[in-house]
Symmetry: C2
Subunit: 422 residues, 2 copies
Amino acid sequence: MKVLGLIVEYNPMHNGHLYHLKEAKKIVNPDFTVAVMSGNFCQRGEPAIVNKFARTLMALKNGIDIVFELPTVFALQDAGGFAFGAISILNNLKIITDLVFGSESNDIKFLKKIAEILYTQPKDFDHYFKKELKKGYSYPNARKFALQNFLKLDKDTLQKIEKSNDILGIEYIFSLLKINSKIRFHTIKRIGSNYNDPNLKSTISSATAIRNAIKNNINFSQSLPKNSFEILSKEIEEGRGPIFLEAFEPFVLPYLRKLKRNDLEKIYGFKEGLDVRFIEAANKAGDINEFLELVKAKRFTYSRIRRLIFYSIFNFNKDIIEASNEYGPQYFRILGFTKKGQELLSIIKKYVDRPLISTASNYKKVLEKILKDTEKEWNVIPKLYLQQFEMDINASNIYTFFYPNKNQRKAGMDFRKPVIIE
Amino acid sequence: MKVLGLIVEYNPMHNGHLYHLKEAKKIVNPDFTVAVMSGNFCQRGEPAIVNKFARTLMALKNGIDIVFELPTVFALQDAGGFAFGAISILNNLKIITDLVFGSESNDIKFLKKIAEILYTQPKDFDHYFKKELKKGYSYPNARKFALQNFLKLDKDTLQKIEKSNDILGIEYIFSLLKINSKIRFHTIKRIGSNYNDPNLKSTISSATAIRNAIKNNINFSQSLPKNSFEILSKEIEEGRGPIFLEAFEPFVLPYLRKLKRNDLEKIYGFKEGLDVRFIEAANKAGDINEFLELVKAKRFTYSRIRRLIFYSIFNFNKDIIEASNEYGPQYFRILGFTKKGQELLSIIKKYVDRPLISTASNYKKVLEKILKDTEKEWNVIPKLYLQQFEMDINASNIYTFFYPNKNQRKAGMDFRKPVIIE
């Protein structure tokens, strides 16, 4: 049996994603296809354009058999944390045989070589890396230049580790190495626009371009599969979207104004003076974009700054994130599945040693049950399980408050909305 | 020398306030007139329509000689806490001889009698009071019915302790008794509309009616002195107002959604199950008015609920409020003065044993200086002084974020804006 695993955000699911999915199936020829997907907040440090259930439906209608939620504590991390969370889920499901990810370079050997260097950390490389960090470069840039020096890369080869998908790909391989996974991995050359390309193309556009088109009321229907477009349109019509970072402005900025430096001390990621920069910028800025500009510096990417905003409002405490980055996701939250996916779920159920959760309101009962279970050994840290799950619930409760339609804002989406069966 | 003291909010300063001021001067015939005024948040639990400096200018242009800020920890309390803070300032200035306050009943003997009962707490009264509270009445209502039973009041007399100004008046007298003040007090019968009357009248309208008119774009110029109207109009033109509670909705409700019950445990006033009610209502409500309706119950007034919203976002911790209600305001923050007021300030300076602050950015230096002072004994609790002052600064920083004009939102108003000299 072959099971294809994908790591996605589908924010929203567009033609490029559909192409990727079809090509991945051509490579692997799987019996089943499983996706791990970000929930209501994405790796760029932004709220998803529509909620996770709508995006799950897009996935199921287009050929994914089961969608698992990547817990918020991973979805909102940098490429490394994001990759580790997603790879941990895929590996711990025990039945995934192949992973396919998009790549600008499509040079899998090279990506693997890089991941191995990062994993084994040869002394010389580490020396270069620290030197670049000292120069004030951001973490990804410092790593890039260190690799350049360590491997004596020419400019063309260097490009292969500069693009978003390649960077994520290296982290996927790194995490597979780290947890000693047997999952095979393959790449697909990304076609069409770049991940961050802000402009709408004819049929293959980036998710960024599509979100911009929605924001600016430009027709984007040609960029999405019809069913995905319909789901998105319904969400917007009923006032559950579109959600942009800007909506969070009157929450985030006054919230940061009320913090003191030691309030941010407990929060993950506020190092290198970012605590002071955040509070000072919040006190100066009149809007969220001015805030981002004020915090921005050579060593901090915009994505990192945006993610940190959510770390502060969601209380991303260091202890939770550090434990999460050591022990991985403590549950498999099922957002939706197809009939075919249901067959696979009954197989998965036999093998997993962390709970499969399809009814979120049962999350405490599920924990109680496995703690009493004498027949099976479960690999769950109770405290971390609760922390991760409650972070997801809280993230949804805050996300839904920013729905344009006031009548849709009620909290508790995770408890009310049943798993999507398609 | 006679110095008239007034306790005001001027939100905004209107014809009724001007009438009150003139009548008060007729009664007292003072050499100087001093006002204690709420800052950027008012006793109804709402942001002021325009900031404290604009409202100070209104006061100075209309016959007040010095405006002192009532610290936020008092301005946002119920009638008792509000009165205690304001009376403490007036009394501790050492030079106030007379207090005049508005009264619906204008029956000063009766108000004094009530205040004395509340101050001496006869056993029988206390018995009635507890009985009414048990029935589920709000604090002011329970007190009203207890007084009714204790004094065997008829309906007409009962009315005298039901109106906002009379309720505040009783608290002013109560606080004067409590601190054994020698300030004489007088009442003026309120004319025109009731404090809470929502409708605009010809020339004397309530501040509530005027704020509603501003919200609904109804002409209200006839209700304000010309200079007050001009100041208000300038604030609105330049985008520093008007500010309504609704502006705080996308801050307050997601903020409450992220709280847990034990986060509210430290906050003042969250008793009688209000912690649970607040969190549940925030999770259900799609807007601030729905939130207020959901929390509302017989024993909780809307004003109290609104005040509690700000207690939670400003971290009105129990220890700060309880200490404040015991020791009073730790400083006299001067918001503005006239030339005449300046003369009085030089006299006040000689007598006070708590610092007079006209340059807010000096607040730490001022404290250091008095701690080292060997010539004079200062009556200041350093920790409480800092807590109260920093609460005012923080309240301004959050208030100004909600200015309609993004370019005006920069924090630090208290440090940038010089004291108003008129």
